[in-house]
């Protein structure tokens, strides 16, 4: 048990306050865990607020729980959010998964998580979460490097020739065992029925071979286009270590470049696949 940081202390106070005042029935936060990542904690009594912590180990994206029926049933939710998590919540809000009125947002000012710090933290623009009900923590330090790095990883892939890319992805996607951990951890994969579970017709083959894997990852990539907030959870939890994050990033880059759209920046923007403009780019259309 390490010494309690002031951030954690104020976080606990905020949580306890939320519970005692009845503003929330449960506070979703992080608690100490023997693994590298802090465990999610569902605190329902003010005294239990003591369990809550916030430190570099808290890179999990708790927003994923908001869509889950069993969690919703607990009553009015308070949730501990980093700026990056908030982007996911914005998408959920836009898609009416949760309504802002049933949600108490306890923002934490974050200077980067993960040991070593996650890649996304190196160009994070949302260290100071905006629009939360309460925000705890000291003003965060600016990100060490510039946002230009945002798409560095995929640009590297784009550099490759088509054949090289194909070889690369054949290798990567070939590994997929279709455990759907990526789906389970993704805060935006909340469909009551995932497309892979649809059997008539079966657009995506479920057995783990390249054809089905390609279909699945393309389907997922497109479903997340303009929604994925690059939290990197899918890649983190993938047992086969498939660089799934770059698929999301690729699409994020696309909508950013073509439609000037960055997902999760606010709750009331139209997703690029539900919007249009007469002068959208249309390269290669005959």
């Amino acid at each position: 048990m390490t010494t309690v940081t002031s951030l954690t202390r104020s976080l606990r106070e905020a949580a306890a306050q939320a519970l005692t005042s009845g503003e929330a029935a449960v506070v979703i936060g992080y608690e100490l865990n023997d693994g590298e990542a802090a465990a999610p904690a569902f605190v329902r009594a003010p005294e239990d607020a003591e369990r809550l912590i916030f430190d570099e180990s808290c890179f999990g994206n708790l927003a994923v729980y908001l869509a889950k029926e069993e969690v919703r049933r607990l009553g009015k939710l308070a949730i501990v959010v980093k700026g990056c998590d908030l982007r996911a919540i914005n998408v959920l809000l836009r898609e009416n998964v949760v309504s802002r009125d049933d949600l108490l947002l306890i923002g934490v000012r974050c200077s980067g998580v993960g040991r070593p710090a996650l890649r996304k933290c190196s160009f994070c623009e949302v260290r100071d979460p905006e629009g939360c009900d309460t925000v705890v923590g000291d003003p965060p330090e600016p990100p060490p490097t510039d946002p230009g790095k945002r798409y560095a990883e995929i640009e590297a892939i784009e550099e490759l020739s088509m054949e090289e890319r194909w070889a690369y992805w054949q290798k990567q996607l070939g590994k997929c065992i279709r455990c759907y951990a990526c789906r389970q951890v993704c805060p935006l994969c909340y469909c009551k029925r995932c497309i892979v579970e649809k059997s008539t017709p079966q657009w995506v083959e479920t057995s783990p071979h390249l054809r089905g894997n390609i279909a699945w990852n393309i389907a997922r990539g497109l479903h997340l286009t303009g929604r994925c907030v690059s939290c990197g959870e899918c890649e983190r939890v993938c047992p086969m270590k498939i660089p799934l994050g770059s698929l999301g990033d690729k699409m994020a880059k696309l909508v950013d470049e073509w439609y000037g759209f960055r997902s999760g920046m606010s709750a009331d923007e139209k997703a690029p696949f539900t919007a249009w403009s007469p002068d959208d780019p249309e390269p290669g259309i005959l």
């Binding site: 892939i157 690369y168 657009w203 279909a215 497109l222 286009t225 699409m251 959208d280």
Partner: protein, 155 residues
Amino acid sequence: MSSYKQASEDASGWQPRIVAFLCNWCSYAGADLAGVSRFEYPTNVRIIRVPCSGRVDPMFVLKSFERGADMVLVSGCHPGDCHYTTGNYHARRKLLALREMMSFLGIDPRRFKMSWVSAAEGSKWSAVIRQITDEARSLGPFESFPTFTLQEVKK
């Protein structure tokens, strides 16, 4: 069935197989017009009529490839002329995203084509088909893509 057999097993051997999704109001009528106007174009194209190019799900395209299409074409009304006002705009965004995704994965994006052909453009239709068929020929069979094999069908 017979037509494509003929297409695929004639003397010159292999023939490209092109699946075309045509919107009911413009491109389908355009193809129709091409027919009645006696414009000639290769027989490699298989037409699937959809109400609107906006009805074409990227999954349709993928599935066509999986099932052995060498090339897929989605054709709709010109921007602004959509019978449903905005369907082709939505198609443009979703399907071009698919093409970008394909190219990112190294799946040859030239296999997937889009075109705007209005009900009055019979000649354009035949021109488009001639062009993409030639391209499909030059690209050869889409072997790199993991397609269904007849064995699998039997299983």
